[in-house]
Amino acid sequence: MTPRSVQRTLRAGAGAAVLLALSACSSPGGSSTPGSSASADGSGNVSGPVTVFAAASLKESFTALGKDFEKAHPGTKVTFSFGGSDTLAAGITGGAPADVFAAASPRTMAVVSDAGGVSGTPSTFVRNQLEIATLPGNPDRITSLKDLTGAGLKVVLCDRTVPCGAATQKALDAAGLELTPVSYEQDVKSALTKVELKEADASVVYRTDVEAAGDKVEGVEFPESADAVNDYPIALLKDAPNPAAAEEFVAYVRSAEGRKVLTGAGFLAP
């Protein structure tokens, strides 16, 4: 075992605990036929619980999608585990019983597929683009990535080790800019929070995050973001306990209805 797999195992334990808690919570309103956890009658009618591991940035849109899916397929019950893509990937390779994995980057999906955990080929279902988040009303008149390098401006960025930070670095490189932030945040949500709380003047985050923050921040598009578009892959997992319903869920995410919800949240179509 390499150190990496030690860590995966630890994370798998945590993931399993989360799942246990989730399934315990959902059991009263869950599938009405005890004992039969999953079934497919061959005519596209599926039932049973579907467990989806999804990147934290998908929380709002996937929660809505899950409700729609349950309505469209009575007898199904979708439970989500949202978190950092790395953490989720480690949980899946560690044996967490998940049906579907939706990651925020191909790299994290590769962690699972390289370990042989994916059934079929992962496919990109949305893309996410970076945007500058500024204080409401954009008091510092930020219009470009270059404006962020201005003196006296407090900028927070995602740490380069997390996807949004890597993407930001790519965009900065494309623009040929050096930017020293006051902080490298551990994930995109905390970067955004710093702007929401007005502790930082600006940050570079995903469009979806700007969208979700409502009027607490203002988004500024910049051309270099095109060089750092993030692909979100989704995949059915090999050890899925309920593959039929899971496949149906993946299809639903990729359907026109699904896409509408996702683009409404600020994602780009692939």
């Binding site: 150190p3 407090k154 740490d159 080790t161 997390v162 902080s183 490298y184 551990q186 502790e199």
Partner: protein, 291 residues
């Protein structure tokens, strides 16, 4: 005149157990080793294994071969240095504010003391990240108090080393307060009265009598607070952010390394562990001889 002076109550405070190694105490400890009842021994050993197993695993899976290369990076030492400085500074802040607070809770009679005590321990139950957000709301650039700090003195704490100290002190101080308050409660308040009848003001009595008496408790509380501050992650990264050399302490470096280089994270954790064990063991020996 042959009977040793053994007052029935109070003259010796009964805290800081173990630091006072009288000959009687040592004999008792040796005797206890022989006759530990099984229902105590088994869970005790299980508890020890439970606590040490993860640490052992960390050691077993440490990439020893690449370790030297991991540890020569300047960022590691920068983070370690920052961690030690900030944890020590946070402990100092906790001492200056926490010991008087503990005294107030233990000795002063006022309404709502129970409530105040509960509030003091709040940071213990608060998830550290929430503590960090609360600190931002209070002391941030736009915070309830922070906006005045900014406009009057030009002081902003978030994203600064001082901010790290604030975050760590916020999380660590309750440990010190609880420990010192417990010691104060066990200490006989009549020593302070005796000092006063000798002409000492209440503050002099505290400084020259009570403070030396509760030193074991203060030391224990300081160690707890220091250790807690050294490992602090959530409040620190939320309130002070993460910037190498300024606010990136070891736990932050470890966490971020974990994202894409777990081997480096293990190596960093090892450094943090080694340093803290060395410091704590060193301190304990010191007290054992001083006390």
């Amino acid at each position: 005149m042959s009977t040793p002076y053994r007052p029935d109550s109070g003259a010796e405070i009964r805290t800081g157990a173990g630091t006072r190694g009288g000959p009687g105490g040592r004999r008792a400890r040796v005797g206890a080793g022989r006759g530990v009842p099984l229902p105590l021994l088994l869970p005790a050993l299980a508890g020890l294994v439970f606590l040490l197993l993860p640490l052992t695993a960390l050691l077993v899976r440490t990439p020893w071969r690449s370790l030297p290369e991991q540890l020569t990076s300047a960022e590691v030492w920068e983070a370690l240095r920052l961690s030690l400085i900030c944890a020590s500074a946070a402990t100092a802040v906790s001492l200056v504010l926490g010991v008087p607070l503990a005294w107030l809770l233990a000795r002063a009679e006022f309404r709502g003391r129970g409530l105040v005590r509960a509030l003091v321990t709040l940071p213990l139950v608060l998830p550290p990240v929430v503590g960090g957000v609360a600190l931002l709301l209070a002391l941030g650039r736009n915070g309830v108090v922070g906006q005045w700090l900014d406009s009057w003195f030009g002081i902003t704490l978030p994203f600064t080393t001082a901010g790290v100290v604030v975050a760590e002190a916020f999380v660590a101080m309750p440990f010190l307060v609880i420990s010192v308050e417990g010691t104060l409660r066990a200490a006989d308040p009549r020593f302070e009265e005796a000092a006063m009848t000798l002409g000492a003001s209440r503050f002099t009595a505290f400084r020259r009598v009570t403070l030396p008496l509760i030193m074991p408790g203060i030391a224990a509380g300081s160690v707890l607070a220091w250790a807690r501050a050294l490992g602090e992650f959530g409040a620190t990264i939320t309130f002070a952010g993460n910037f190498p050399g300024r606010t990136q302490t070891m736990p932050l470096a470890v966490y971020l390394a974990l994202q894409n280089d777990p081997a480096a994270a293990v190596a960093l954790s090892l450094v943090l562990l080694a340093v803290s064990v060395a410091v704590l063991a060193g301190l304990r020996d010191r007290w054992a001889t001083v006390r």
